[in-house]
């Protein structure tokens, strides 16, 4: 089938998409957007978190066909190489990144949290990021990074 959707503000068309393909596969293998990661492909780890029409979803749990005509924003659509988003900047500074495989998903999830709750408490952060597994950091520096980003963004 043919899939048309907007990804990071650009219209994209993918041909010969197999019915079973996930949005994650389309983003990675057809569109070359490898920022959404393939860690569990079961919706448990949050490494493939993206926005679908503004809602935070796991791209691995969205069938490609479900994205037809909709707007997708991936980690590549947050910040840029020239100018990191404050969330990205805070993660890089706080030591919230080790192997980094969970990082893109956490960036998107944190971006979503701060758009809804500009100055979250630690408990709110823990609750909001509970769907994103990190195996390296033990989360302390991730939580610190979210606080730093929130402070900068609300200043």
């Amino acid at each position: 089938m043919r899939l048309s959707c907007a990804v990071n503000g650009r219209s994209l068309v993918a041909e010969e998409v197999w019915e079973g393909e996930s949005l994650l596969y389309v983003l990675r293998e057809r569109m070359g957007l490898f920022g959404s990661k393939n860690a569990c492909e079961q919706g448990e780890c949050g490494s493939c978190s993206v926005y679908l029409d503004g809602a935070l979803v796991c791209a691995c749990l969205v069938l490609a066909g479900q994205a037809e005509g909709r707007a997708v924003v991936t980690v590549e659509g947050i910040g840029s190489a020239e100018s990191l988003h404050p969330v990205q900047q805070a993660f890089a500074e706080a030591g919230a990144v080790q192997c980094g495989f969970c990082t893109p998903g956490l960036i998107v999830a944190t971006h979503d949290l701060l758009s809804r709750v500009p100055d979250p408490t630690t408990i709110q952060i823990r609750e909001a990021l509970a769907g994103n597994i990190c195996r390296c950091t033990g989360y302390a520096k991730i939580i610190e990074a979210v606080h730093v980003a929130a402070a900068r963004m609300t200043r």
């Binding site: 197999w18 957007l33 079961q42 890089a92 495989f101 989360y139």
Partner: protein, 771 residues
């Protein structure tokens, strides 16, 4: 043809500074290429046919249907392995593809390459393998007595260890005994096993791979592919965590075989379910302990029997059982010890390296025993530990005297002195702070708080005579008018921060601002593995040695140039050093900018670094100077336990650890926090459930990992006591956090619940008396 890789890492900083990751920004943008992100034009996808039985004879393999499917380019079996058909880190016992028999559930039997990954999976499904199903050997106790069946030619005991120290028939005033069990833990690195093999025109292959040790992969691959070493080139791709899971080969040989056969680049990337059978796990353990002590609380003896289930193949089992036995008593003085350990072959999933490497399992046992002993003596558990704590010069049960700082008592005093977290407020109830969380299972009824302590230790680096070394190439030149240092090693940056450490050492030794760490590959000599908490010590040591060689040449050059210019006389060069991109005098005055001195000159030095040698355990007594360095940490856990439902909430972890010298304090903190999280996982939630040889929970839905709601804050006290033998006095940092964190949590749950809890992970029904 090359896939896109991460750019070289530019880092500026000195030893001791919290230098930021050079790859952090690119990782936050999702632009860092991991091994599962690689792609080149025209590549095929590989898939693996795996045994659905834990033990079966392979009668026949029929690939006719799979080969005829559109888009399928190759189907390979063991007959297609070009070289040696088996491999292994210590014992070459594991087939590249199963031959006459499959020995574990999920063992690789055949390979497929196809245009599309889904087509490859379907073709793998279409390969017809006829099996004669055999009764698997799944009980390690049965394996210890010989089976049947006999799974390998030399029998089912992979290695037996005997440690005999002092009086073998000692008498003690107080004796406590216990039997303990540890379940099988998964490293669960988030990045899947994956890589891209690209054949060249001369019959060789380039493999882009995420691995903990490029050279040992290369050596095994060259053998299996029947190629000379120079025709098998490995290039490190981005690594999504490791923790021991990337020490053994997974898809490396398979992707290379498919690429060499098809003449096309072949990518393989495991799903999470496949990953659970694609790498080895932490050994499950059964341990029986007996501790004898005086009335005053001094250990008289420890007797222990440790049985590890190694699963179907050896992997690093022989070294894991050695550690489990060498450190069986914990960091305590113990004049008499009788330790017997075995690791055995079964038809369970193969086990090998995971962070902590044998010292995690025994810590659960020796720390539970110390608490039991304290209770029997009516003594404070911390006081009992301090009374028996090893100090500098103490002798291990293996007869080795430990030199350098041994701050066991100090670490315990520090965690005991830290203030305790406050009670959860019942007035402003926050469910996320309760056992059971937002499931709303309690508002505090039945909840009791427990506090537990544990201390542990292990070796840093390779042991028992294994040649531990690393190689570094350091190149100093001038680029755009500024001096620039390039550091090239094969060391694996798994997330721990080796890139910063290498650059910080080079920056410190050569006083240069611009340092670039090149990508790791097999074009430079081996760095050994990123494991055993060793890379900062060993590869850091190699970088330091290469920098010293470069510096020597720079200073010699400076001396001759300056003498020629008549600016110094003979002997005036004493005290000259490199700092701030310049040659400076002893008093710090700039004599000559490095860029001016060097001009077009390139100074390029390669050095190997070796720590002091170790020796193999005596087979009868286990006595030897088997280890090079020891690292110690202690943990205190505060846990709220719902004693009615068996649910737990770890409220806080506190730790004290001697890191010798924190080369990068932020990275050190990250190791202490992250390592503790993996310890928490094993204590209360993580277990690969194996029934009749089959993994029942090969997914992140069913294999539970700690989340932000499970992992509490970690209060840290980082000591820098300086090891006189190591570069900058540093100690390995990565593993100790994973050793005593879990045992402290379990001790706290025992304190709250009064239950014996002899098995980890602790499950709700272990806490609640359901009988």
């Amino acid at each position: 043809m090359r896939p896109r890789l991460a750019p070289p890492s530019a880092v500026s900083g000195r030893v001791g500074q919290a230098v930021r990751r050079p790859d952090a920004a690119i990782k936050t943008r999702g632009d860092f290429p991991y091994s599962s992100d690689l792609q080149v034009e025209g590549m095929l996808w590989g898939a693996t046919v795996r045994s659905p039985h834990p033990y079966a004879r392979i009668i026949s393999i029929d690939a006719t249907e799979a080969r005829s499917m559109p888009g399928v380019h190759a189907v390979l079996t063991h007959k297609d392995v070009p070289g040696r058909k088996v491999y292994g880190l210590e014992i070459p016992d594991q087939p590249v593809l199963a031959m006459d028999v499959a020995r574990y559930w999920g063992e690789a039997v055949a390979l497929v390459a196809a245009d599309h990954p889904e087509q490859a999976r379907r073709a793998a499904h279409a390969v017809r393998v006829e099996y004669e199903v055999l009764t698997p050997l799944t009980d390690p106790e049965l394996a210890l007595t010989g089976g049947p069946p006999r799974l390998h030619p030399d029998g089912n005991i992979t290695r037996a260890i005997k440690i005999r120290r002092g009086d073998q028939e000692p008498r003690a005033d107080v004796i406590v005994t216990g039997e303990y069990e540890v379940g099988m833990q998964d490293q669960a690195p988030l990045g899947p096993e994956s890589g891209l093999a690209i054949p060249d025109a001369d019959g060789g292959v380039d493999l882009y791979i995420a691995t903990q040790w490029l050279h040992v992969d290369r050596d095994q691959l060259a053998g299996c592919l029947g190629l000379p070493h120079e025709k098998v080139r490995l290039i490190m791709a981005g690594i999504g965590g490791a923790f021991g899971a990337r020490e053994d080969l997974s898809m490396q040989a398979h992707a290379c075989m498919l690429a060499l056969r098809t003449g096309r680049p072949v990518k393989m990337s495991y799903s999470r379910a496949e990953s659970f059978v694609g790498h080895v796990h932490r050994h499950p353990a059964r341990m029986r302990y007996e501790h004898g002590a005086t009335r005053e609380g001094k250990l008289v003896y420890v007797k222990a029997r440790i049985l590890l289930d190694g699963g179907a193949y050896a992997s690093s089992s022989t070294a894991v059982i050695s550690n489990a036995c060498c450190f069986a008593v914990g960091p305590y003085e113990c004049p008499n010890a009788t330790i017997d350990g075995w690791v055995v072959y079964t038809n369970n999933p193969p086990c090998g390296a995971m962070r902590g490497f044998g010292s995690v399992q025994n810590c659960y046992a020796h720390e539970a025993q110390m608490d039991k002993l304290a209770a029997a003596l009516q003594m404070d558990p911390v006081e009992l530990r301090i009374r028996n704590a090893m100090t500098t010069g103490s002798t291990l049960i293996t007869g080795q005297a430990v030199d350098g700082p041994v701050p066991v008592a100090e670490l315990l005093r520090r965690i005991a002195a830290m203030s305790l977290p406050g009670a959860v407020s019942r007035d402003h109830l926050d469910l996320t702070q309760m056992p059971g969380g937002v499931s709303n299972t309690t508002h505090g009824e039945g909840v009791r708080r427990g506090i537990g302590y544990a201390v542990g230790f292990k070796n840093v680096g390779y042991s028992e005579g294994f040649d531990d070394y690393s190689t570094a190439r350091v190149r100093l030149s001038v680029a755009r008018g500024r001096p620039r240092v390039e550091v090239h090693t094969a060391g694996a940056e798994v997330g721990q921060g080796l890139v910063m450490v290498q650059a910080q050492i080079a920056g410190t030794e050569l006083g240069v601002h611009d340092v670039v760490v090149l990508g790791a590959d097999t074009e430079v000599g081996s760095s050994g593995s990123s494991s055993a908490s060793r890379q900062t010590y060993i590869t850091g040591g190699a970088v330091k040695a290469a920098c010293e060689a470069v510096r020597e040449r720079v200073l010699a050059l400076a001396e001759s140039e300056l003498a020629e210019l008549g600016r110094i006389g003979a002997g005036d060069s004493a005290g000259m050093r490199l700092e701030g991109d310049a040659i400076v005098a002893a008093d710090g005055d700039v004599i000559l900018p490095l860029a001016t001195l060097l001009g077009e000159e390139v100074i390029d030095e390669t050095r190997e670094f070796r720590p002091r040698r170790t020796t193999r355990l005596d087979p009868e007594t286990g006595q030897a100077n088997a280890h090079m360095q020891f690292a110690f940490a202690a943990h205190r856990a505060v846990v709220d336990v719902d004693t009615e439902l068996g649910l737990v909430k770890v409220v806080e972890l506190a730790t004290a650890q001697d890191v010798g010298k924190a080369i990068n304090p932020q990275a050190v903190e990250g190791q202490l926090e992250g390592g503790a999280a993996q310890g928490l996982g094993l204590a209360v939630m993580e277990e690969i459930q194996v029934k009749d040889g089959v993994i029942r929970n090969p997914s992140f839905t069913d294999y539970l990992l700690p989340t932000t709601l499970d992992m509490p804050p970690v209060r840290m006290d980082i000591l820098e006591l300086g090891d006189p033998n190591s570069p900058y006095g540093l100690k390995g940092v990565g593993e100790p956090p994973t050793i005593s964190s879990g045992p402290a949590i379990v001790a706290a749950i025992r304190a709250a619940s009064g239950r014996p809890l002899a098995r980890v992970p602790v499950r709700p029904h272990d806490i609640v008396d359901t009988e």
